[in-house]
Symmetry: D2
């Protein structure tokens, strides 16, 4: 095992966590993923989370003083890869999106009071949260177009708006809502703020869990359309300062993209393993198996090379963020985001082709990832947006100003 990206700390814990994922988590997938989320949450997921706590791996992304493992981003990335081997992994370790992002946000920018009220139970896994930014009427590629408003009224904000892809809203305790607080600010990046809105607030209406690729999902595994109608919350629910909305969103996304990208690597590794196991057993004639076909061999090799390439790029970027910060690595972050998302899609596609009819069924995890991770090239910035970001940063050195 090469140690270039590894550390003593990681070498001590990763094998244990991998064993736990393989022995305890993956076998529960078939049961959990057929249930409604809320039923699994009370039973199987609850039991798995208790085990993680007792093993000392709970909320691994947090500093040690807050009960986490105090990992660098480079280290957490590699942990995220292992958790990504199962769709349940991150949830069971309480570092699932969108809660992990909200945790980091509240940890860095929220008042003591908000931290006490929202961050603490979130860290304990007692509640869940959601992040309410995307709006159906406006293109995500232009974050300055936002219809939701938060208007001051005495000590409160009155919030009105229409959001979707407010993931995990069903059953969440609160939403972090992106809303325009200063519509006339000349700088479009200073118009919006992030405000906590408890889901019990009057006027918070979960219109539906959007059916995504054939599934409405439930609980944590759902994506809600939400309407905010005259939702009143105290101004103290503001995170950071007024007008910080975009700044916070950016800070939220830097590390988040490493998390996602390394989770995808975990998916890729599992799928490649499944692919190899399948073709090694699948007979195509009395004396040969699918693995004997050159086209299958080449698919495996192409997957291996691409996954490696993506993995080392991501880890190098994580290393850079640890050393130089998010801003300095902005172009690298965009590079790996679209590169890794495309590797993921290609690996899933090749694996599906090799599996034949079986790949289309839900008898393996493959079809689940094939349909849901198509979104990897869209969420947190579509390929096209990230490519433009990379080009902008490069071409600035040649005196060209790229508009995105």
């Amino acid at each position: 095992m090469l140690e270039l990206f590894s550390t003593a700390r990681l070498q001590a814990i990763l094998p244990k966590i991998k064993e736990f994922i393989e022995q305890e988590v993956i076998p529960m997938e078939k049961i959990v993923m057929k249930k409604r989320f809320f039923d699994a949450e009370k039973q199987e997921l609850h039991e798995l989370r208790q085990k993680v706590k007792s093993l000392g791996f709970w909320t691994p992304h947090l500093p040690e003083k807050d009960g986490g493992l105090g990992l660098s981003l480079l280290e957490f990335g590699q942990l995220s890869e292992i958790l990504g081997l199962s769709p349940l992994g991150h949830f069971v370790f309480n570092c699932q999106a969108p809660d992990i992002g909200n945790t980091e946000l509240l940890h860095q920018f929220a008042s003591k009071e908000l931290q006490e009220k929202y961050l603490k139970p979130l860290m304990n896994g007692e509640i869940r949260s959601c992040f309410s930014m995307t709006e159906p009427e406006f293109a995500g590629s232009n974050p300055t177009m936002l219809g939701t408003t938060a208007v001051k009224d005495g000590e409160n904000y009155v919030i009105n708006g229409h959001k979707w892809f407010t993931s995990s809203a069903e059953g969440a305790e609160f939403a972090v809502v992106m809303a325009v607080t200063d519509p006339t600010n000349e700088n479009p990046y200073k118009k919006a703020s992030m405000i906590i809105v408890p889901t019990q607030t009057q006027g918070f209406e979960l219109l539906r869990n959007i059916s995504i690729m054939g599934e409405e999902g439930s609980g944590h595994a759902s994506h809600a359309e939400v309407r905010y109608t005259n939702c009143i919350v105290p101004q103290t629910n503001l995170i950071g300062n007024e007008g910080d909305g975009f700044k916070l969103a950016q800070s939220r996304l830097g590390a988040g993209r490493i998390h996602h990208c390394m989770r995808w690597i975990g998916i890729c590794e599992r799928i490649l393993d499944q692919m190899c196991a399948y073709v090694s057993k699948r007979k195509i004639s009395e004396h040969s198996v699918l693995a004997d076909k050159q086209s299958v061999q080449h698919s495996i090799a192409e997957c291996r090379a691409s996954i490696n390439a993506a993995r080392y790029s991501i880890l190098h970027t994580a290393y850079g963020i640890d050393k130089l910060g998010t801003q300095a690595m902005r172009s690298d972050i965009s590079s790996i985001k679209f590169f890794a998302a495309n590797v993921l899609q290609q690996v899933l596609d090749k694996a599906l082709q090799v599996h034949g009819a079986l790949g289309m069924t839900d008898d393996t995890i493959l079809a689940y990832h094939f349909r849901h991770e198509r979104a990897a090239r869209i969420y947190d910035g579509a390929d096209e947006v990230h490519k433009s970001v990379v080009a902008r940063d490069i071409l600035a050195n040649y005196g060209v100003k790229v508009k995105i």
Copy 2:
């Protein structure tokens, strides 16, 4: 409108059928596709089918004397494209797979008695059928590996076996079963036969509708796993002669691939239209829409060029089958099968990327096709098999014998 592939007959009926699909069928999709199939079959689908009958377009693939439109394959292909604009199209016109294939099979090869008993109600749309060939234990790429057996016992066959992807089995009146009747025949292509097994036969067990890409489906829109345990049927249920199984399967597939390929063209055309309509309206800033982006424009152009290329290849092949027969066009059929399936996948993928988050939702038909038509590169012969067939036919001219 260019007439190279068109005929006077087509020009008379296609616009009417297109209008019917657009005005009557597409608007019913949201209702029908949310219901269980059996509920829709009794109501919305029934009404639509009655309208088709009254318009005189019922079972268009059949000869005029049998109540069809008496179209050439070149003509029917173009009709199939129009029907393919909606996932309901073929069913509403009673030319849906697998019934259309079974209809053609019984029409050409079944005894008068079997035709009277099974073909007639099938043509009338009174019953549905299924085709039971694929087995989970054996690779579809090698059709001579088959575990299901039909053993003679007096005047009957006793059938035992295990099948899956017996599409539309739920609610079907009978299955056409591929079973080994002559296990010791030296020619592996002479071992199997096709036999009709009514689904009410004792020992016919529909184990499950296989969950495919997240959906078990129901009725016509389902794919069953079936076990045959000592199913007894009279030997008169044999289609064609004993040992004809593979020959019949081949004949079934020639025209069938034109049907599918042109249905995919219909899907492509609808999706491209949806894509253009969406990007023309979707604002990305106050004064610009998504269609103003060069990457979007290029995606549209690439789709247009690829769809055209696939379409003309398919129609040329259909023309060839009409003139020279399936056997002479075998290599062309394989060429268009994998070429068109890949065009379909690319069009769906590009459209999804352009739609952003909306593409992942079931608010449009796109996600449905994205997940279900991934199978196009697998069913009726995987890409790899068809490529080998093409290479075999070409390389035979150079003295090389390709093994598939």
Copy 3:
């Protein structure tokens, strides 16, 4: 042989022409292509051209009354495919670019006097010509940016400018020069005109044959950089009307793209044949040849399917131009241009990979096409331009005006 795109006339002549290309032209390639063009022109090429004349196939693109074969574009396309089997084909039949385009231009738009002086000897193959449009300082994607001017002075034009990619200028009798005659016209598409400039004119300076992919070439097989310094020609050398430059360029390109595209199909067919012949003989072990490798087989099949798809698209477009004219088929022309150019590049690339080290050598024709036909995606409109044209025509139906 299917007759969908064929005609009795074609069936009478194509086999003879193919035989001539295979028996007489291809065997001369190694000799001709190693010589300087002017040497080959006097000997081998001259002899081949005499044979073509005696066979009655000279300048096949012209109407019968002008000594040609009077073919429709659909027919000539198929002839161009056969001629394209050899890089010498079109020249030997006197229908090589850029002369073929100039011939058509003069035929349609030039005065009797110009026709007598320039068109006639061109048709007879007594002289060659060149077309001088592209300028190094301005992007070809924007044809309205043009630095060359033609200023009236008495009865003459005085022409100044700097051109490159004036193909075949070396040894040409005259150039058709695109020059700005009306710099202040509000319509940028009305600013330029086409004017004949004999290469003997004082001030016409062939600066160099540009080294292209390692070769400067010579004669017809060269691409010149030319400077025009106070070149004086009579105003009667104008083709068409003043300001018609762009209109004429467009008309020149419609049929020209069919010629090129079908020439590429000819190249593809020859290369695919060479590929099959090679892999069938090339031993990779005592008992197997390269053709036994699945990856090789799949490359062959992918080439076959793509070539077919391109071919039928091009022929369908040629049919459309014959029936409806160039303007009506503008979007189809752009579609096939970039689609076919990409198929060509992929076929050449796959063939090269299959050939291994041999493919890199000039022992076969493959490396020649690999390096020189990379330009297919650039000349006569880069891929990006044609994609935008297709998108513009499609999106106009949705109310969007695409800028190119």
Copy 4:
């Protein structure tokens, strides 16, 4: 500058070497590459080599005690990238293939006498050498098929055979020849040996410099076809032991692939820079440049992401070879070989498309790399071979034995 792959030593020398390449070497390209190699060797190349010696960077790949820089492979890889910025870089530093491989070979495996006679002048840059393995009659993918024989006769070997792609043979002092010494050995990998044959030996016949992509080249920049007819050399010219041929070839290739791959990264970086510089200046209308086009921006971003991915994969592999040896990293070496070669081809292709007509000309270095580096996917193991190696190593873990 991130230090993950860097070292203090590298940080001290790389900027100087980069400056030398940019200031001294690149400006000489136009002059050197137009001359015959032998002329440039005596003048421009000689002067540059003297400068490198005086700067203390000569033969950087060798241990310090032998006059090199004593770099790890990870370090030399990064140096190779910088040298790769110019096609002249490696030659000027005396670490050009095939001499660098022969140097390493003789350094590790040759007798003192051979080292004195051949290695020393090679290290001093007084002579050049070549490597004679590939044969036209046998496929490189199967290295055990070899027609060249070395038969013992007294104290000598008598060598007969036919080789090609004996690169740089013209002007070389000696060839390292792969020849069968033990034709009946049961183990096909023990049949051959490596033997030094001075090019002055009677019977050594340089048949031709093979024309590659239009150029025969000369001297170091050429690829010879060679016939060995009863060439007599003393048995002491054997490198290593008899039968070691394949083992030595393998050892030669491990580090060699890192050298090549990092050289390709150097090419990619230069071309990407050239691309950015070009599009930033190239006007496409009065107020916009090519860099304003989204398709251009996306090409740049895709190049950046792919080059990064390849670079980090290669450096990780170099690190692994330093730590664990070539054998342990065999699969990684194959992965990066085909991955990086494909990135190179794509970068060159995208750059060429963006450059338009200019890209086809030899006015920039681009066309040179486009045509000559197509071989990167072929030499030192074709993509297909390396993919099979990767698959073999992976599938061995699943109990499948892949034949290559």
